[in-house]
Symmetry: C2
Subunit: 469 residues, 2 copies
């Protein structure tokens, strides 16, 4: 602890970091500038003090000790692919990057677990596991560019969640450095374990506000045998497509992925890919089945979709399946051509999917906005894209979301809550949704969550201003 | 809040309860006596103040308001089938029974969820769900007599966990009454949801120390189609049986259940059932496969077990399968004939199962005790039964566990921790294992957990003395 009466100034904090961490401290303009933003389109108001590029648990501990001694905020950061602004770092703050801690420390096929450092990319981990016939199931769309630690910090989801679970279902234990630099090992290596409160689950999705995850013991699966099967089905309206998706779940069939593109999204993608323009209003489902029964399940799903007014096209082989999937994968590049987008992430019970699309249509009408939407229809998670023209360069405060877009987003969130849903299925709260957090949690639960934050981070130096407004 | 300077006496607390709750307040000797104990063999030092038999959320809220106003401890209670003493209620405390809140409020096949009150028995819920082709997977051995709320409060496991998950994987949301009577709804109805910290996960396994679960939204599965297949395999030593069980997991096969009986357990069961005495040292695995590939998986598992020195017997039909399972199910009655038992619940990584049995053999030798053991070998969870002669009637303090049995149990827990395991896979800490909690968690994590307890229950009236020593 410092014994100075006055708080140390920025120069003193940087000097201490350099003395303790040497070349791990990046003060270059590029690094500082990059640490201001993630992929949400938002950016902090200015450059942070420094970027610490930790290479070890000890580096993280040293950084947090200095942060606590000097009262300096710390913003943990993986690959910066978040979509809610949780990793954005501003003036007076330290960006603590885990991206260089990429080791796989242990893989146990017999225990179906792996112990990894947080900075490894999801796809790199899965490439290494695949060679042993193993697999870590969480599959955010960002898996090629996002880290396992970031997946844990945001409680990431993905396309496969209805069948294979979310991050919470795939983490056995985490090693966490607390705000004052102490290292705590939470969780266990066994399938079962109920000793005390489940702090591992508490860390998942905590967005860097409770501690810094410096290691994780992951629950693995065996690779699913056999080739997957792919089909698409088009529907005259998005409501019909959503109702058909719900009918698949209600029928008891379990696809691996079940993705929905509404008419605006499908039209933009066809335009991007140079495909013929779809009929006006046409919406599409893309379905993949896997495992030993992939073929028969695909055919059964095709029957359900046809009975629900879908025009079904079953891929003859893997190459054709890949072409069908490419349409779905082109959502983000297609949106980028339309203008600036605010990507939302509401999630509703699967049976409410069609009603949620009714609400989106209403919001488009009432607010005069276009909201191309892709949905993980198999689990009820929607990504409505609010598209708008941003005035000129984003500037120091990042994208300047116009007031009428925020109003429409507000309407959207409240509709999701009314339908029994949630603000965010897999992106997290960050800065983007913090103004609605209390609406979903209620005052009493909000206070409990703030109380837990206080237990872990009494000085409030871990990612301040994120999650809690 | 009371404005009296002096704390209200027991008569005043009872008077307030009766005024607010009428005939829900049970002061009869039978009820008070029953509330002293669960099925751990332990008992509190005396009768509680009262048993409140809540019939509604409001009853629970009223009870907790009075408890907070009068500073009276409250011990929530389901069916009293716990094995760690967490529901045992003593002098000066209120036993708050949820057992009469048994309604199923909603079942949604299309959303694969059910909303239930906490007092419904696991088996009663599953009977109702089964009629709709649905299933709540957690299957503690006590499922016929234990409540869903109790399953949640203890984070219960069961036989099917390796394939179908634990309670933590099967609860979407909980309604919780806090210590001061406020009702908070945690979690969500959607498959995905990462708004704020995962308080639902925090409640699971919290053993009545954070709040009272008065409702739960459960994640359901479709009933598994087809008939299960059953086999047994015997091995010359328990080590060989444990190694064979680990070989099944390592082979990539996934049985629904994979249960192990060691020689002392098997001999006691054969004696109970009037079967021929097994060869000395003989240990047994009982394996069940399910789903569309049940037959081929059963045959593949048989080959793995035979290659690992097992003598395999595949049941020809369901009736024979049932007879084989009956042996495993007779464990508890067989133990009861041997003497008083202390049932432990360590869990280790699956690959460490054989080593854990080596440790049990060492502990038997060094401490001069017999420890018949059954294991959920598929997930590494062992139930060593310490058998001893209790002197006379259990008396006011419940079973008097002799010091040399505690010493042996201490040795066992430390061995499990050394092997990367945990004190308790599915029974919880309660009073039985609280002396070891800090050993597993470490001082820093212990302090964090105490801090969370303080946030939820600042006056310390929720199940005091349990979990935390």
């Amino acid at each position: 602890m410092t014994t100075d009466a006055a708080a140390p100034g920025p120069a003193d904090v940087i000097a201490r970091l350099r003395a303790a961490l040497g070349d791990r401290v990046d003060l270059g303009a590029d690094g500082l500038e990059a640490a201001r933003a993630d992929k949400s389109g938002h950016r902090s108001t200015g450059r942070p003090l420094a970027v610490v590029r930790a290479r070890s648990v000890e580096d993280v501990q040293r950084t947090l000790r200095i942060a606590t001694e000097t009262g300096t905020p710390v913003v943990p950061r993986g690959a910066g692919t978040g979509l809610a602004g949780a990793a954005n770092t501003g003036p007076g703050e330290i960006a603590l990057s885990l991206r260089e801690m990429t080791r796989i420390l242990e893989v146990r096929a017999d225990d179906l677990l792996a112990v990894v450092e947080p900075g490894i990319l999801n796809a790199d981990l899965n490439a290494a596991l695949g060679a042993q016939g193993l697999w870590w199931a969480p599959d955010p769309a960002s898996r090629d560019i996002s880290t396992v630690g970031g997946n844990i910090a945001t409680g990431a989801g993905g396309l496969l969640c209805a069948k294979y679970g979310v991050v919470r279902d795939a983490v056995l234990a985490v090693d966490v450095v607390l705000a004052d630099g102490r290292l705590v090992r939470m969780g266990h290596r066994s399938v079962k374990g109920v000793t005390g409160y489940d702090l591992t689950a508490l860390m998942i999705g905590s967005e860097g506000t409770l501690g810094v995850v410096v290691g994780a013991t992951l629950k693995l699966r065996r690779l699913v045998p056999g080739a997957p099967r792919t089909l698409t089905a088009t529907f005259p309206t998005v409501r019909a497509a959503a109702a058909a998706a719900a009918a698949v779940t209600a029928s008891g069939l379990q696809p691996a992925t079940l993705e929905l593109l509404d008419a605006a999204a499908l039209a933009a993608i066809h335009d991007l890919l140079g495909l013929p323009a779809p009929a006006p209003g046409l919406a599409q489902l893309t379905v993949q089945t896997d495992g030993p029964a992939a073929a028969s399940e695909s055919e059964a799903i095709a029957r359900v979709l046809a009975a629900a007014d879908g025009t079904v096209s079953l891929a003859a082989d893997a190459a054709e399946g890949e072409r069908l999937l490419q349409v779905r994968r082109s959502m983000h590049p297609a949106m980028e051509r339309l203008g600036t987008t605010l990507i939302e992430d509401v999630s509703v019970p699967r049976s409410a999917l069609a009603e949620m699309f009714d609400e989106i249509a209403r919001i488009e009408r009432e607010h005069g906005v276009v909201i191309p939407t892709v949905a993980h229809a198999g689990d009820g998670n929607l990504h409505p894209n609010f598209v708008f023209d941003a005035p000129g360069d984003p500037g120091d405060a990042g994208v300047d979301v116009p007031a009428h877009i925020w109003d429409a987003a507000d309407d959207l969130f409240r509709a999701a809550l009314r339908l029994g849903g949630t603000l965010t299925g897999e992106h997290g709260i960050g800065v983007l949704k913090r103004r609605w957090l209390r609406d979903e949690l209620g005052d009493d639960q909000f206070a409990l969550q703030r109380g837990i934050k206080q237990v872990f981070d009494p000085d409030g130096i871990l990612n301040p201003g994120k999650v809690f407004a």
